[in-house]
């Protein structure tokens, strides 16, 4: 799954937190903890497999749970228009 951050989103990381501004809605959003890490990995790698591989290399967690959590986050952010998702066919 290819994931891109929308052009309408500006964001920054500080203190382990990600703060985002959606220019389209003019709303601010914040991500902390694993959500913050996932966002930064999306920005860096742009694919779900890469993000999950990086997270699994760092944390001893159940891969199925991690993937479910990640996809939930991606779905929520995509629904807000902050991520563009291209699913593999």
């Amino acid at each position: 799954m290819k994931i891109e951050i929308s052009e309408d989103v500006v964001w920054r990381e500080f203190g382990g937190e990600v703060l985002m501004l959606d220019l389209a809605s003019q709303h601010y959003f914040g991500l902390t903890g694993s959500g913050s890490e996932m966002w930064q990995l999306i920005a860096e790698h742009g694919s779900s497999d890469s993000v999950i591989d990086c997270m699994l290399a760092k944390y001893e967690v159940d891969p199925a749970n991690l993937r479910a959590d990640f996809e939930k986050l991606v779905d929520e952010l995509a629904a807000k228009g902050m991520l563009r998702v291209t699913r593999d066919v």
Partner: protein, 381 residues
């Protein structure tokens, strides 16, 4: 030396600015008009309005210049026609509706001096429906610029100053608009109007624009220059454009890009800007394309990434934050609660000192603290 007074001296010794305002005000103000001067400073714009025949000027300023302005109006024979009010204009009410609003809240790029917010509020609350304004319109102009000196100041943070890693400060600097005075030859491409503010009707809103500037001479682009062109009256304009001979003495803005980029005559520099005036938030996206349209460089920057934000401050804005007052907050609450319309300020100072003696080394220190609260919030005595 008073820095505020010095700033206003700078305004008055700028012939282009003084002349533009004098000519515009004499053209816009009609005999008998009631005029509002927003951010009046020493009162110079109000003096022009009175000279043009205004029956009354309301001069509002939040700084300590209010009394000086009163004295200057009186010294020039206008003491009975000028009403000087100390405060933030958005919190001031006038006894009558004005015909004209004047002010210099344009800043360096049209959106950084409070122009949109303060004029919109004044028009809605303090003005006649057919109010005239000086300025009436402000256009925001951008152009690719060669600016090695200010670029070096941005890049400074990546050069390990004092032998330490300051790279994080670079991220702030490269996402910030920097005040710069340009020479005309530094402007590499055709200036383009990226957004405009109609001061007579616009309310606070997002400004957006996308323009392509054609490069006129080859060079190294370090960023985007931004300045304003203000329509002051039907026949008077005022600008801090480096390309104008009658440029006012005010710096323009430099919006950096992440890498200095070689550009050639005929290249196209596309600039997309998104601006939120109330928080002076500016996003600038820049694409450099060859003559054939092939994009070879892309940059994206935002003052959002250039803000100095602390997580401890941000945490206090979260909806689930449950605030509690610090000892200083409690002392401030005491001051507010003691203002009951009966106690004198001396009594309040003594009571605050007694209630919070652990915070103040003396009654005098408590008095200063009480004064700090009373200056912005105490009703006139």
């Amino acid at each position: 030396m008073s820095l505020i007074l010095d700033e206003h001296r700078e305004y008055l010794i700028d012939p282009a600015r003084v002349s533009a305002f004098e000519r515009a005000i004499s053209e816009v103000v009609r005999p008998g008009d009631v005029v509002l001067d927003l951010g009046s400073g020493t009162g110079i714009l109000g003096l022009f309005a009175l000279k043009a025949g205004a029956s009354r000027v309301y001069a509002i300023d939040g700084s300590g210049l209010t009394q000086l302005a009163r004295e200057i109006f009186a010294a020039n024979g206008f003491g009975d026609r000028a009403v000087c009010i100390k405060g933030l204009s958005t919190r001031v009410d006038l006894p009558e509706k004005v015909n004209v609003i004047v002010g210099d809240l344009i800043g360096r790029f049209g959106i950084d001096g409070g122009l949109v917010e303060y004029y919109a509020d004044a028009r809605h609350r303090m003005a006649q429906p057919d109010v005239r304004t000086v300025p009436s319109r402000v256009d925001l102009i951008v152009a690719p610029v060669e600016a090695p000196q200010v670029w070096a100041e941005v890049d400074f943070w990546r050069k390990s100053p004092a032998g330490f890693n300051f790279d994080r400060a670079y991220k702030i600097a490269v996402n910030t608009g920097h005040p710069v005075k340009y020479r005309p030859d530094q402007i590499l491409g055709k200036p383009e109007l990226v957004a405009g503010i109609d001061v007579t009707s616009d309310s606070v809103k997002i400004l957006e624009g996308e323009v392509a500037s054609i490069v006129r001479r080859s060079g190294t682009m370090h960023g985007i220059a931004g300045w304003f062109e203000a329509t002051m009256s039907p026949s008077v304009t005022m600008s801090n454009s480096p390309l104008r001979e009658d440029v006012i003495n005010r710096r323009a803005v430099f919006f950096p890009i992440d890498r200095p980029t070689a550009v050639h005559a005929g290249d196209s520099v596309r600039v997309k800007m998104w601006i939120s005036p109330p928080d002076t938030l500016v996003n600038w996206r820049v694409e450099v394309a060859d003559r054939d349209g092939t994009v070879r460089e892309k940059f994206s920057h935002s003052t959002f990434a250039g803000m100095l934000i602390c997580p401890e401050d941000l945490a206090k804005s979260r909806p689930n934050y449950v605030p509690e007052l610090t000892a200083w907050g409690k002392a401030r609450r005491s001051v507010v609660n003691l203002c009951d319309g009966k106690r004198t300020i001396a009594e309040i100072e003594r009571e605050v000192y007694a209630l919070h003696h652990d915070l103040f080394a003396s009654l005098s220190e408590a008095s200063v603290f009480v004064h700090e609260v009373m200056v912005p919030y105490g009703a006139p005595g």
